[in-house]
């Protein structure tokens, strides 16, 4: 049992979470009220991540709402969403903490000019500490936990994963100059991955895993209408159907929810209420972003795309 009894999780925090999210239905309603539509699988995954508590690893095609899920979860808790975007070469100084060197140098000079003695310990205090995302999430005062989103973990090096593992397991970090910082309230951790490489089994072992599928057309309509206020219902349905049709073509980048939302946003801005080939023609760049894909769509016909074979 590594996860369930994470050290540092104060009982009050756990009780507060239980009060805020008593069961999956309540969580679903809360997400819903924030404009995030989660299917039962994702709702269950988020619920367990909150209540076990355990880090949640989300995978799925780009644009199915992995990042958005973490944002909505933070919204439900009323806690800050602390995001760490991973990239090749990400290191502890950017993920955890860094000392504010310019400020330290300044303090040294200031102390010199005033003739005040300055000990080394005076320079390594809280005031000179820059909290990077992981430390910021750990030191979030509560009462409800912060949501720490570690986005695209597969982009970071594998040694960063090992480091992360330690933080997740202990809910604490050690700063040589300050000592060990224990989490006031263990943050809710959501990791996302695009599967560009396999994650360590050890990391996966500590996480709940959920694969987000591309939602069905009705759900897309519903999501789009929520995300773009003032959308004509007919337009949302047209766009969802067109995107579904486009996904059957062998395009390089099948459009996801994000593209659907952008497309509806663009069409709404142009005052379009029903999708027609002309409107699709003007806004195609919002939907497909490879020249080859654009060619493919045009070859297949814009009339086909918008579902009007006669054009």
């Amino acid at each position: 049992m590594t996860g369930a009894a994470t050290p540092g999780t104060a009982e009050p925090a756990r009780a507060a979470v239980a009060r805020a999210v008593p069961d999956p239905t309540a969580l679903h309603a809360a997400l819903d009220s924030l404009g995030y539509l989660a299917d039962p699988g994702l709702t269950t995954a988020l619920y367990l991540a909150l209540r076990l508590p355990q880090p949640l690893l989300l995978e799925g095609e780009p644009g199915v709402g992995k990042t958005e899920a973490a944002r909505a979860l933070a919204g439900v808790l009323g806690s800050p969403l602390i995001r760490l975007q991973c990239y090749d070469g990400l290191d502890a100084a950017e993920a955890l903490y860094e000392w504010n060197y310019p400020r330290q140098l300044l303090s040294i000079r200031l102390a010199e000019s005033r003739g005040v003695p300055l000990a080394e310990a005076d320079l390594f205090t809280d005031a000179f500490l820059l909290r990077r995302p992981v430390l910021a999430a750990l030191t979030h005062p509560g009462p409800l936990p912060a949501v720490l989103l570690i986005d695209e973990i597969d982009r970071a090096d594998d040694d960063f994963e090992a480091f992360l593992l330690e933080v997740l397991a202990e809910a604490s970090v050690t700063i040589p100059e300050l000592g060990t910082v224990r989490a006031t309230v263990t943050p809710v951790v959501v990791l996302t991955s695009n599967r560009t490489r396999d994650l360590h089994d050890a990391l996966k072992r500590r996480c709940l895993y959920h694969w987000i599928d591309y939602p069905d057309t009705e759900r897309v309509v519903e999501i789009v209408r929520r995300r773009v206020p003032g959308t004509a219902p007919s337009l949302a349905a047209d766009v969802a159907a067109s995107v579904r049709r486009l996904r059957t073509l062998e395009v390089q980048k099948p459009p996801g929810i994000a593209e659907s939302i952008d497309w509806v946003g663009a069409l709404t801005l142009l005052g379009v209420e029903r999708l027609d080939p002309d409107a699709a023609d003007r806004t195609l760049g919002v939907l497909v972003k490879y020249r080859e894909d654009v060619d493919l769509v045009r070859d297949r016909g814009l009339a086909w795309l918008v579902g009007r074979p006669e054009g």
Binding site: M1, L48, L90, R155, D157, T196, R197, Y209, W211
Partner: protein, 423 residues
């Protein structure tokens, strides 16, 4: 175990979790006792009041990768009659709920009778090899091609021998040889810094530390430099009929080289005939031969015609563009015989070359006297490759290594940049 009970015995959750876990494990989902324990925790939070709830509770507790969803669904369906996917099963009549589940958290006895049921006709493991046994055994076939003759002979003879004639003896010798080889992949600079007195960047943190030693006066600046890392290596191996004996050697050879501790090379290995199969995760736990056998079982088109263009497209779409091919060295092992659309090979190689650092094409046929890249597929692909080598024997593998490392290729390895051979 016991027959499905009429009177409901007390629901033994730990036993239920353990049996469920065992059934999944048999189906290939890597379940550990830790996972079963987590399933227990989940059951406490989410009493299995209906099949969808049980489905999600179990899937979230046990499944750790997308590939496991399919075997999980199979086991779940076998155990509980019908995949309880909420999308299609809510209240569906054809989806009988777990007997005894409805009354609430106290009830389900269903796991007890279940394992015998699943080990019956739908057992995913035993039925696999049955009708494909012959294909599955195929990699062992060339064993009779004079294997014993060469065992114990010098590595020299082995070095010139065509991979296509390798038997178990040569393969074992190859394993011994590959223990002494090291593969070198080009480097790239990362954003991570390391101390370097002649580095380009000033390392403020260490500079300040030093200045404290000299009374707050910065005497010497500490410098750092971007760290160098090896580029990832991606191997795409054609396993269609004629390439298959070579692929067997390549997969074995490279998986050993890269798996060796301290090789510092992250390699991804794929095989393709008409579709693409990723071998990397399988190779971590299985021997290369067994992995290839398993891949052949999963791909019914094994040893059939080759759709190189489509396989390359699938790689780029599913893995390459998301990052696997970015900045990587991509090596394609194929004779370039495209079964469908040769122009697709050119198009897809071009796409790949825009993503990758280098694209190396290895074609064992190149060694044949008088070879010219006339196969339409390879003719279309060559303009987009950085190197074109034969790699048909151990000696020829030296060229492959050079091509991967991007070292000044020997004249023979120069790619036909001008597609003069295009028919």
């Amino acid at each position: 175990m016991a027959a499905p009970p009429a009177g409901l015995p007390p629901f033994d959750r730990p036993a239920f979790a353990a049996r469920f876990g065992a059934a999944l494990h048999r189906a290939g989902v890597p379940v550990t006792p830790e996972r079963s324990a987590r399933f227990l925790d989940v059951l406490h939070l989410l009493p299995p009041v209906d099949p969808p709830t049980l489905y999600w509770a179990a899937r979230l507790a046990f499944v750790t990768a997308r590939e496991q969803i399919e075997p999980f669904d199979r086991v779940f369906a076998a155990l509980f009659g019908g995949r309880a996917d909420p999308a299609d099963s809510r209240g569906a009549p054809g989806n009988p709920p777990l007997p005894g589940l409805e009354p609430g958290p106290g009830a389900p006895p269903a796991a007890a009778p279940a394992p015998p049921r699943r080990s019956g006709p739908r057992s995913p493991l035993p039925h696999g090899p049955l009708h494909r046994d012959t294909v599955g055994e195929a990699p062992g076939r060339p064993a009779r091609t004079g294997a014993e003759r060469l065992v114990g002979s010098a590595a020299e003879a082995l070095a010139q021998q065509d991979f296509g004639t390798f038997g178990p003896g040569e393969l074992a010798e190859l394993d011994r040889l590959s223990a002494d080889l090291a593969i070198s992949v080009p480097l790239r600079r990362t954003r991570r810094r390391e101390a370097d007195p002649r580095g380009r960047h000033i390392d403020l943190r260490r500079s300040l530390r030093r200045s404290l030693r000299t009374g707050g006066e910065t005497v010497r600046l500490a410098r750092s430099h971007g760290r160098l890392r090896r580029r990832p290596l991606v191997l795409l191996c054609d396993v269609s009929g004629s390439m298959e004996p070579y692929t067997r050697v390549y997969v074995r050879f490279f998986s050993r080289l890269c798996a060796r501790a301290g090789s510092g090379v992250a390699a991804e290995i794929f095989v393709f005939a008409t579709r693409l199969t990723r071998l990397t995760p399988v190779l971590r736990h299985t021997s290369p031969d067994a992995a290839l056998r398993r891949a052949s079982r999963a791909a019914p088109d094994w040893s059939g015609g080759t759709l190189i263009g489509r396989a390359l497209a699938e790689f780029t779409d599913r893995f390459g563009r998301r990052g696997m091919a970015r900045g990587a060295v991509v090596v394609i092992f194929s004779d370039g015989w495209e079964g469908e659309d040769p122009s697709a090979v050119g198009r897809e190689t071009a796409r790949l070359s825009r993503l990758a650092h280098r694209v190396v094409w290895v074609n064992p046929r190149k060694a044949a006297p008088g070879y010219a890249p006339l196969a339409a597929g390879i003719a279309a692909a060559l303009p987009h490759c950085d190197a074109f080598v034969s790699g048909h024997s151990l000696a020829a593998m030296a060229d492959v290594f050079d091509a991967i490392a991007g070292r000044g290729p020997s004249a023979a390895a120069r790619p036909a940049r001008t597609p003069r051979a295009r028919p």
